[in-house]
């Protein structure tokens, strides 16, 4: 069973139990439970007051806490997949370009050569937004609030400088990287992100001009992407 199926089964179970239980709790008058007969649970019986108070604990406190845990897990694990990123149309240009065999962007080259088999967005962008540490996750909530309230403008622009360690974590120390003498000369600047890898290696994603509404490529770039099985984790 993969994680998505597990999340769906557990999430459905906790949500349905909560909805059904809440229906009974909302109709229950706790002040009048003293006159009610004991509730039989098969192996034992409980006074009606105790039974309904324990049920209320489960339905109003325990099950919602479990739902919060499952749904947040769904958020933070789900965003590792390209499909999750491309749910927001502003990210679709990146996803479509990634899958475009004719594109020569860094992302597309990594994809078509199979350098990153799964979770391609997450592999390079795991230090900010919902992928990163707590501060980054809070920033992810800001992204979500801006997107769902439509208080953003296209094309999107990164607020922060890209951390070159996202590149170096895979490339540094590899033969192909080390044999390029230029890398030795600029390594200190690369490690401090004072120099971008893109200075020599080309664009990572489609240009801002192409991602601007009204541009010739915009409609094709924001079309819903088609995903192959290989993209799934």
């Amino acid at each position: 069973m993969n994680w998505l199926t597990l999340v769906r089964v557990l999430g459905t179970l906790t949500c349905v139990l909560t909805i059904v239980g809440a229906w009974f709790i909302a109709r229950r008058s706790f002040a009048r439970l003293h006159d009610r007969p004991d509730v039989s649970l098969g192996i034992t019986s409980l006074p009606a007051t105790a039974f309904w108070k324990l049920s209320a604990l489960a339905i109003i406190a325990i099950l919602p806490a479990a739902t919060i845990a499952v749904a947040n897990y769904h958020t933070f694990v789900g965003i590792h997949e390209v499909q999750a990123c491309s749910q927001c149309h502003v990210m679709r240009p990146m996803a479509n370009d990634l899958h475009d065999p004719g594109s020569d962007t860094l992302a597309a080259r990594h994809f078509k050569n199979g350098y990153i088999p799964t979770g391609q967005c997450y592999a390079c962008h795991s230090d900010y937004g919902f992928d990163g540490d707590l501060a980054a996750k809070l920033e992810g909530y800001r992204h979500l609030a801006r997107y769902t309230s439509r208080t953003y403008s296209e094309p999107l622009a990164a607020r922060t400088r890209f951390d070159n360690h996202q590149c170096l974590k895979c490339h540094q120390g590899k033969t192909a990287f080390e044999r390029v003498h230029m890398h030795k000369d600029v390594l200190a600047r690369l490690e401090s992100s004072n120099m971008s890898c893109l200075n020599c290696h080309g664009r990572a994603h489609p240009t801002r001009a192409d991602r601007t509404p009204g541009s010739a490529k915009y409609q094709a770039l924001v079309a819903p992407p088609v995903f192959a099985e290989a993209d799934h984790e």
Binding site: I19, A22, A71, L144
Partner: protein
């Protein structure tokens, strides 16, 4: 314990939103879960705990 009517309704509404998010994890269900369902759950849990503590104090258990 007082009635738990609105707490029950809040967790039911939060659960409906969560159920949609679990099956259709797009940005809007995610936003609804994050900014509506989670606060509903947290407020309902806090209110439930407050009422439970109040009753336990009233009965001199705490």
């Amino acid at each position: 314990m007082n009635e738990l009517r609105w707490e029950a309704m809040a967790v039911a509404l939060g659960s409906v939103i969560s159920l949609v998010f679990v099956w259709q994890p797009g940005p809007y269900p995610m936003g609804a879960f994050t900014f509506i369902a989670q606060p509903l759950f947290l407020v309902a849990i806090a209110s439930y705990v407050w009422k439970a503590v109040k009753e336990l104090r009233h009965r001199r258990v705490l």
